[in-house]
C-alpha cells in the first residue's frame, strides 16, 4: 500500500469518527446544520490535500474542527447580517489550540444530541431523515448511502440538499427538545434508526436479503444515543431489540441463501455476545421504571426467544402476554396476527384461529399473504386439511416472494397427503 493511499484510508477513518462531532460543534455556532455540514466537507477536502504532504496531525479531530470553523467564518463574513456570529466564531478559533479539544468530549455530547434530533426532525420525510442521519451522524459518503439503498448518487445528493433546505426554511432550531416536545421528537429519532436497521436486516430491494453494514451503523448510532440519553427507556429498548435481532444474522439464511425461520434456526449460530448485550440493554430499560413503549415490548419479545436455548423451550405464554401489551400500546392488525400465532403456540391452534377469524375482515390485512398462511397453519393443525389447502393456495397467490410461494405450495400439497393419511387411519 502506498503512503498516500495509507493516509487516505486514515483520513477516511478519521472522518467517520469525527465528522458528526465536527458538524455538531459547527452547527452550535452557525445555527445552520446545512452550512455546518458544507464547511465540514470543505475541511475534509483540505485534509485530503494536506495530510498526505504534511502528515496526519496529532489531533485530527481538532484540526478538522478548526479548519471547518475558519471556512465558516469566511462564509459568514460574506453575509452582512451575521456579523455577530463572526465575532463569536472568531473568538472561539483564536482561543482554540489543537490540544484544547481533547477534553471537550462531554461538552460536545449535547451538540451531538442536538444534531441527532435535527437530522431526524419530523418536518423531513422519512427518506430525507434516513439520508441525513447516515450522512451527518454516520459519516457515510453520498455514494455509500446510495449503494446501501440501491439508488443513484444524484438521488441521495438531492435528498440531502432538499432536507437541509427544508430545515433552514422551517427554522428548525439546533437544540435538544424539552418538555412535551421530547417524546414525539425522540420517537422520530428512534423510528429513523430502526428503519435503517430494518433495511439492513430485511432489505426491501435488491438480491441480498440482508445488508449488514446498515445494521451495524444503526446499532452503533443506537448505542451512541443510549449513552447520550441514558434516562430514556425506549432508547435502551430499541438498542436491546437491535442487538438481539442482529444476533441472529448468521442463522437467518441457509446454505443456498434461503431464509430460515426463527423456530428453525440453528441457535448455535446466534451471536451470544450480542444477545448478552441486548439483555443488558433491556435491563437498563426496565430499571428506569417507565411505562413500556413499543420498542421495549418488542425487545422483551425478542428476549423471550433469545433466552430459549431450544425452540421448544420458548415461553409462548409470556410471548402471548407481551403481544397483548403491544396490541394495547401500539395497536395494529399485524400485531394481532402475531398474537394469534403466540396464542396458538401457548394454548393450541383453536385459540389462534379464533383471533385470526376476528381480524380477518381488517382492511389492512387485505392482500396480506401471511393472514391466509397463518390461518392455513392453524386449520391444518386442527385436521381441517381441505380448508387449510385453500388458505395456503390463497397465500401463495398473494406473496411476491418466489421462495415463499414455493414453500406455501408445498404446504398446500402436503395437505392432500395429510388428508389421505387421515382418511386411511379413519377407515382402518
Amino acid at each position: 500500500m502506498g503512503a498516500t493511499t495509507s493516509v487516505h484510508r486514515t483520513v477516511d477513518a478519521v472522518w467517520r469518527m469525527e465528522s458528526a462531532k465536527v458538524i455538531a460543534a459547527l452547527a452550535r455556532y452557525t445555527r445552520d446544520v446545512g452550512l455546518a455540514e458544507e464547511m465540514a466537507q470543505d475541511a475534509l477536502v483540505a485534509a485530503l490535500e494536506q495530510w498526505p504532504v504534511e502528515g496526519v496531525p496529532r489531533n485530527p479531530g481538532a484540526w478538522l474542527t478548526t479548519t471547518a470553523k475558519r471556512r465558516a467564518i469566511d462564509q459568514i463574513r460574506r453575509r452582512e447580517n451575521l456579523n455577530r456570529k463572526v465575532e463569536e466564531i472568531g473568538r472561539d478559533v483564536r482561543e482554540a489550540t489543537p490540544d484544547a479539544s481533547e477534553g471537550i468530549e462531554d461538552e460536545i455530547g449535547d451538540d451531538l444530541l442536538s444534531l441527532i434530533f435535527t437530522a431526524c426532525h419530523p418536518v423531513l420525510g422519512t427518506e430525507a431523515r434516513v439520508a441525513l442521519t447516515l450522512k451527518m451522524l454516520g459519516g457515510l459518503k453520498t455514494e455509500e448511502i446510495a449503494r446501501a439503498f440501491l439508488v443513484s448518487d444524484s438521488t441521495v445528493a438531492q435528498r440531502i440538499v432538499r432536507a437541509k433546505k427544508t430545515l433552514a426554511d422551517a427554522g428548525v432550531p439546533f437544540e435538544v427538545p424539552e418538555g412535551p416536545d421530547l417524546a414525539p421528537r425522540l420517537a422520530s429519532v428512534l423510528e429513523v434508526l430502526y428503519l435503517i436497521f430494518n433495511e439492513g436486516y430485511s432489505a426491501t430491494q435488491g438480491d441480498d436479503w440482508m445488508r449488514p453494514e446498515l445494521c451495524a451503523e444503526a446499532l452503533r448510532l443506537g448505542r451512541v444515543l443510549a449513552e447520550l440519553a441514558p434516562k430514556e427507556a425506549e432508547v435502551h429498548g430499541l438498542v436491546a431489540l437491535m442487538e438481539i435481532q442482529a444476533s441472529r444474522a448468521k442463522a437467518r439464511t441457509g446454505p443456498g441463501g434461503e431464509p430460515v425461520l426463527l423456530l428453525d434456526q440453528d441457535r448455535g449460530k446466534w451471536d451470544w455476545l450480542l444477545i448478552g448485550r441486548g439483555l443488558q440493554a433491556l435491563e437498563r430499560a426496565e430499571a428506569l421504571n417507565q411505562p413500556p413503549g413499543p420498542y421495549y415490548v418488542q425487545a422483551a419479545l425478542a428476549a423471550c426467544h433469545a433466552r430459549a436455548r431450544k425452540a421448544e423451550d420458548t415461553d409462548w405464554q409470556q410471548i402471548a402476554a407481551l403481544y397483548q401489551v403491544l396490541a394495547r400500546i401500539s395497536p395494529s392488525p399485524v400485531v394481532e396476527l402475531n398474537r394469534a400465532v403466540a396464542l396458538s403456540m401457548a394454548f393450541g391452534p383453536a385459540a389462534g384461529l379464533a383471533l385470526v377469524d376476528e381480524i380477518a375482515g381488517e382492511k389492512a390485512l387485505r392482500g396480506y399473504h401471511l393472514l391466509p398462511s397463518v390461518r392455513g397453519d392453524f386449520l391444518m393443525k386442527l385436521g381441517r386439511t381441505d380448508e387449510a389447502k385453500a388458505e395456503f393456495e390463497k397465500a401463495a397467490s398473494l406473496t411476491r416472494n418466489e421462495a415463499e410461494r414455493t414453500l406455501l405450495l408445498e404446504r398446500a400439497a402436503a395437505c392432500d397427503q395429510t388428508g389421505t393419511l387421515a382418511g386411511r387411519a379413519g377407515a382402518s
Binding site: R9, R220, L273
Partner: protein
C-alpha cells in the same frame, strides 16, 4: 469488523479511558486479565468498520506507557 485490543499496562484498564469507546458506540466488551510480568493487562473488544478505524480509535485513548496489540477477530 471486530477487533480485540490487548493492553499491557501498569494500570487497570478501567482507568485507561475506554469510556471514549463506549460513547462512540463501538465497545462490545472489556475486561481485565490476570496480571503478568508486564503488569496488569486487559482487553477491549470493539466493532468498527476497518483496521484504520480501530487503530485511530485506540490512538485517541490517553494510555500510559504500555504495549497495545490490535488483532482482528476471525468471523466463522
Amino acid at each position: 469488523m471486530r477487533f480485540m485490543v490487548f493492553v499491557r499496562s501498569p494500570r487497570s484498564l478501567a482507568v485507561c479511558g475506554g469510556d471514549a469507546l463506549l460513547r462512540a458506540g463501538v465497545l462490545l466488551d472489556a475486561g481485565d486479565l490476570v496480571a503478568g510480568v508486564c503488569g496488569v493487562s486487559g482487553y477491549w473488544l470493539i466493532d468498527v468498520r476497518d483496521r484504520e478505524e480501530a487503530v485511530e480509535r485506540v490512538r485517541r485513548i490517553p494510555l500510559p506507557a504500555c504495549v497495545v496489540e490490535i488483532r482482528q477477530v476471525a468471523v466463522v
